[in-house]
Amino acid sequence: MLTVALSRLAALVPLVVVASFAAFLLLQLTATDPAVVRLGEAATDDAYAAFRHEIGVDRPVLVQYGDWLVNAVQGDFGTSWTNSTPVSESLAARFPVTLSITVGALVVGLAIGIPAGIAAGIRAGRWTDPLLTGSASLGQAIPSFWLALLLVAYLAMTTSWFPATGYVSYERDVGEWLRSITLPSTALGLASAGAFARQTRAGFVRVLHEPYVRTAVAGGLSRGRILWRTALRNASVPVVTTIAGQAAVLVGGAVIVEQVFALPGLGQLVLNAIRNGDMPLVLGFVALMALLMAIIQFLLDLTYALVDPRVRAA
């Protein structure tokens, strides 16, 4: 098990490095001059040059990246161009918000999607099946930010159950924190629920076509036993894989949904950074996302190994 963990971890490191390097190169393409961002339009050329030298953007690209990477490994993502706040500080202040609604959405997606998928799968071919799969397809087609708008317009503003805007940190009040992330997580998670439901159902149907199901039927195992023991466990393996893909979709969607609920998360931060041409902040954001994805992938690999003994043995 430890070997599996270490080898998976080793495989993920180059991914994050490649991702951050790609983002770094990409952001070199920008026409934005950090000196103008910081000093405004009216400074002298000498002042501009001095500032560029100070923050090191006059050095070769590879040197700059190497420098950035060495610092990033130690948790230092550089300094914002607009003010001298360390990027890591800004990210750390916003990250809990984005993480809260992303994880909340994942919980919503799994809590609705998996039971719905099982319900469709164990009664595949019956009348409930097209109903559930149809709803799942519909759920997947609804853009999360539109659902967010609808929830604000028709739920948050007409009732007082949930706040329409704002975020309360869980350190301050766990109940209020839950209330503040409920609607964003729901808006974000419903499309994932559709994806999970379809995956789960497809997994069930695939497993029911496996010869070992016929062996179980021949052995006299009851329908319920075959579905809940044999099929469920075998079908859960591909669903675990789906979680990684959905996590990526959810993090991206969180950035957008945050805007509807005016949540002070990474979305607001990065949009402001783009408006201001604050490239270190954008780079830090992309690197953080790549790192988050790698961590999720790592955790899933471990789960995978727990569910499927064949992976553990490999």
């Binding site: 920008t30 397809s137 853009p143 609808l150 052995g219 006299g220 991206g252 950074a273």
Partner: protein, 589 residues
């Protein structure tokens, strides 16, 4: 549903094309005096906060969404498809390095990557769709690479590469046309994503710039007045949902068409069908009442839709007798065997005059209710073709045996002493006995292993143990040795022979190999295209085949197979005769 979806897409396309001529108002101009009008005869869908007509903007937005979809999809297909095909074709280090980069970039969520690209290039419809296109090009590259490699392998086999076709020509003439269809399906799904992400980016102010109408921009302006006019968020959102849903449904339909059928039976092997009595029932021939007859089946017919797999076949198996059911693949022998085992599943349909099991209180399978069918399956042991696929990969061998034993205990009403027979320790002993009976050494250890940890031969022994766990009176073995190599084949045949002698059940042995049948069977039934062409004692059929097909089967028996000659010396007279006869037929050179 698919037609309706095509209809929606055609409508969106038409609105995109005809928009400028059919919008009732200028989509980008309005007077503040008309701001936030409710839907009415003037403005069917009302107006936004600047007094612009929502219907006109909605129609104009169809154009933006269509352009966005095409732009992003084109970038993804050209960039990703091109890259994937090239690295798939070149292979080697280029492939390895580029794939690492593609994987690295793919680890950034698509929306995040698009945002980063927009940060570098600037916002706007075309630039944002370039960004989305690049983000989706990564997945496209992986797909194209995989398809190209598969296609390349095939071409090597066909020899196109060998005759010296240049790589470019190979790509243009052989590979590109063959991978176009799956790439097209993927492109539909990218299109749907692009439409959603365009709206999302425009909503954030990174995509289409106001005052241009895009469904995302409309949602953004609706958000400004969400308190005063919540309705304004409905039309653009619905338009988005319908378009994306239609694209997904069409995409799914294309995927299904590519994969072909196979979805016609969503319950797989879970729900075996019953067997009806068919039309020609009132046959007056009385049933054979010989107590030695174990299985008596008359006029069994199996159909798959309009295709007839088994056409009125009679089978009889006596206690202690081994009957071989021989025929090539597609002859209907497996369908027949599964129908006799009560394990036939949809889309098959089956009818018969009589299928009766003796050896105890007689059971009738024709028109039987599910309870009787379960009892039937309890008395018929089945050994399946591919042992490693027929065992649950996630459960230990012991666990699987235990489940079957417990299920059988639960089914049989005869066990009065339930508490004792369900005792886990008693069952554990039984598992060890069963594994020993099928010739596995160290049964305790084997019971703790999973199917992936044992060899194919061991797996088939476990499979036989599973069949024996039911104490069957009839054993149906469907090609039990086909997936195994020759030496293991011989061992399994030895095992079946021994079990037959010891336990005196009847065996119906399905095989395409008359040689294997000759080693084991007392009688043989030869099937061809769903019908029995010949049946009789094995010696007679092998030595004097009356049907040309049987003669062809006899001639097809492999000769001098190492396993058969060395490990399994001819044990029965019949077998010796098969081999002798085959030897005789060999042309002397």
């Amino acid at each position: 549903m698919v037609k309706l979806s095509w209809g929606v897409l055609v409508l969106v396309g038409a609105l995109a094309l005809l928009g400028p001529w059919i919008t009732p108002y200028d989509p980008t101009a309005g007077s503040v005096a008309d701001a936030l009008a409710s839907p009415g005869p003037e403005h069917w869908l009302g107006t936004d906060y600047l007094g612009r007509d929502t219907l006109s903007r909605l129609i104009d937005g169809a154009r933006v969404s269509t352009i966005a979809g095409f732009e992003a999809t084109a970038v993804a297909v050209v960039l990703g498809g091109g890259l994937g095909m090239v690295i798939g074709l070149v292979g080697g280090w280029t492939d390895r390095i580029v794939m690492r980069i593609v994987e690295g970039i793919s680890s950034i969520p698509a929306v995040v990557l698009a945002i980063a690209i927009i940060a570098a290039l600037g916002s706007g419809l075309t630039r944002s769709m370039l960004a989305v296109g690049i983000a989706f090009a990564m997945g496209m590259a992986r797909l194209a690479r995989g398809l190209t490699m598969a296609e390349r392998e095939r071409l090597y086999v066909d020899g196109a590469r060998v005759v010296g076709a240049s790589r470019l020509r190979l790509l243009r003439v052989h590979i590109a046309p063959n991978i176009a269809a799956p790439m097209g399906v993927e492109a539909t799904l990218v299109f749907a994503h692009a439409v959603t992400i365009e709206a999302a980016l425009s909503f954030l102010g990174l995509g289409t710039q106001p005052p241009a109408a895009s469904w995302g921009v409309m949602l953004s302006s609706a958000q400004r007045t969400i308190r005063e006019a919540p309705f304004q968020s409905i039309p653009p959102g619905l338009a988005l949902v319908l378009t994306v849903l239609a694209l997904n449904i069409v995409g799914d339909a294309l995927v299904r068409r590519r994969r072909g059928v196979g979805l016609d039976n969503p319950t797989g092997y879970l729900e075996p069908i019953g067997i009806g009595s068919g039309e020609g029932k009132a046959e007056s021939n009385p049933l054979c009442t010989d107590p030695a007859v174990l299985l008596q089946a008359r006029a069994v017919a199996v159909r798959y839709g309009s295709m007839v797999a088994v056409d009125g076949v009679d089978v009889t198996v006596k206690a202690g007798e081994v009957v071989a059911l021989v025929g090539e693949s597609g002859s209907g022998k497996t369908s027949l065997a599964m129908s006799l085992a009560g394990l036939l599943t949809p889309p098959a349909a089956c009818s018969a005059e009589v299928i009766r099991l003796g050896g105890g209180a007689p059971l009738d399978l024709v028109d039987a209710d599910p309870g009787v069918r379960a009892q039937w399956r309890g008395r018929v042991g089945v050994v399946f073709q591919e042992p490693s696929a027929a065992l649950n990969p996630l459960q230990t061998v012991g666990r699987q045996l235990r489940e079957v034993i417990e299920a059988q205990r639960r089914l049989s009403a005869r066990h009065r002493d339930r508490a004792n027979t369900m005792n886990p320790r008693v069952i554990s002993e039984e598992i060890v006995d069963l594994l020993t009976a099928v010739g596995l050494r160290d049964p305790e250890d084997v019971a703790r292993l999973r199917p992936g940890q044992i060899s194919g031969g061991m797996a088939q022994r476990v499979m036989i143990a599973l069949a024996l766990a039911k104490s069957p009176t009839l054993l149906i073995a469907d090609e039990p040795t086909t997936a195994l190599d020759v030496t293991v084949q011989a061992e399994i045949i030895e095992l079946l022979k021994r079990l037959c002698r010891e336990r005196e059940f009847g065996v119906l042995f399905v095989t395409h190999d008359l040689g294997v049948a000759g080693e084991l069977a007392d009688r043989v039934v030869v099937m061809f295209r769903g019908e029995v062409v010949e049946s009789g004692p094995i010696d007679q059929v092998v030595l004097h085949p009356s049907h040309p097909y049987t003669a062809a089967l006899v001639a097809a028996v492999p000769r001098n197979e190492p396993g058969r000659a060395i490990l399994a010396p001819p044990a029965t007279a019949a077998e010796a005769r098969v081999l002798d006869m085959v030897e005789d037929q060999e042309p002397v050179s």
